[in-house]
């Protein structure tokens, strides 16, 4: 049986937790606004550059280009973009689950060796403890996200790809849909998937003038494209993480509030019971005296 004092300490404890979760929610919300802006600003560039690639490839044979040519896949790199920190609901858990599923179902079952590249501490911690090959990691980049970190990652991946360490690069990340909604996306990074012109587009051969020439442009574009994609993905994941954390902390705060309410009712009931009991004792004591 919980005493009054016990309940009081509990209430106090829950209140403290509530304060912390509320503060974390505020922090996430403040950071989220900036992160959201960044994503929205980065999307047009990433989209346009892939549109440009698809325009180019619609008219020119690029199957010989090292960045777009399909190879026989013996080993694949899986890039998992997780968060550096926890307390953001199912953000990391779902991502890791999806990665494990992808590796076992899509790669291992086809005898493709999976090599992991972990961005974010949570994903790294998970896979490092288990029996997975990790070829690279980038942790702690989300606290100061810059275009340079994206450049470094894409360079490392491109090097591994051109050196033949892996024949395919897959990125698994959380896409930022809205503050309360993230979607896990599995995307092929290399070889560059060329979007087919959608049905809505007018299929006119436009006979581009290419300056200086196709070779030069195709030397230049893919690395830009890849860098832009990584940059976009990092920003997406960052915004998604903050959104997930905000929602999780909001839920925690609401739960704490509810818990405090029930505890307070219990406390009041106990208190009333104690008072009633005391009065009863006094009255019966007085009655006993009167009887004598």
């Amino acid at each position: 049986m919980a005493t009054l004092r016990d309940i009081k300490t509990r209430i106090k404890g829950v209140q403290n937790t509530q304060q912390i979760t509320n503060a974390m929610k505020m922090v996430a919300a403040a950071k989220l606004r900036r992160a959201q802006e960044n994503v929205v600003n980065a999307r047009p560039y990433a989209n346009q550059i892939s549109v440009l690639l698809s325009h180019l490839s619609a008219e020119n044979d690029i199957t010989q280009n090292p960045f777009t040519a399909e190879r026989q896949v013996k080993s694949a790199a899986v890039v998992i973009v997780s968060a550096d920190r926890g307390l953001c609901g199912a953000f990391n858990t779902n991502l890791i689950k999806e990665t494990v599923r992808y590796i076992t179902e899509e790669l291992n079952s086809k005898d493709i060796k999976a090599q992991l590249f972990c961005i974010g501490k949570k994903g790294y911690d998970y896979f490092n403890k288990r029996n997975y090959t990790i070829v690279g990691k980038q942790t702690g980049i989300f606290s100061a996200l810059g275009y340079n970190s994206a450049a470094g990652i894409s360079q490392e991946l491109i090097r591994g790809y051109t050196d033949g360490n892996f024949d395919k690069v897959i990125i698994i990340y959380n896409e930022f849909k809205s503050v309360i909604n993230q979607r896990i996306v599995v995307e092929q990074f290399l070889p560059i998937p060329i979007k087919k012109e959608s049905e809505g587009d007018k299929k006119i051969k436009s006979d581009y003038i290419l300056e200086p020439d196709l070779g030069y442009i195709f030397n230049y574009l893919p690395s830009k494209h890849l860098k832009a994609q990584i940059w976009r993905i990092l920003l997406e994941s960052n915004a998604a993480e903050l959104g997930a954390r905000m929602t999780a902390m909001d839920n925690a705060t609401t739960n704490a509030k509810e818990l405090i309410r029930t505890l307070r009712i219990k406390y009041n009931k106990e208190r009333q019971a104690a008072i009633t009991k005391e009065i009863l004792e006094i009255v019966s004591g007085a009655n006993a005296l009167k009887a004598e």
Binding site: A46, L52, H55, L56, S206, E211, K224
Partner: protein
Amino acid sequence: MAQLNLNIITPSKIIFSGEVYSVTVPGTDGNFQILKNHAPIISTLEIGLIKIELPDGSTEFFATGGGTVEVINNKITLLADSVEKSNEIDPDRARAALNRAKQRLAEKINDKTIDVARAQAASARALNRLNIYEKYLRGTEVKH
């Protein structure tokens, strides 16, 4: 009549979006001007100056660090790593970047880890910014 539309997009934001009369860009094969009904073209761009003539007759100048331009059906899409409007260039930052790059180039004899190509590109970009800043804000070109 179709209008000539321009979008200048960098990884961090959309710099310019709207109708223009003409655009002059620093193509890899030389500067060229894009007017209405230009043939479809895809070109890479070098470090240099982008000049935009607006329909109202005014002009705007931008410094760019290289990128690509695509023209199709009177739609110009200019993708660049960095684009700065002439009046938004920070000359102190550009000067600092220039000095840093020069210093790195000077150290390269002793230090093999220095990426010469990168330092040279950085120096060219900074110089380009400074030149455009000086030319279109003060009316003088600086010699280095």
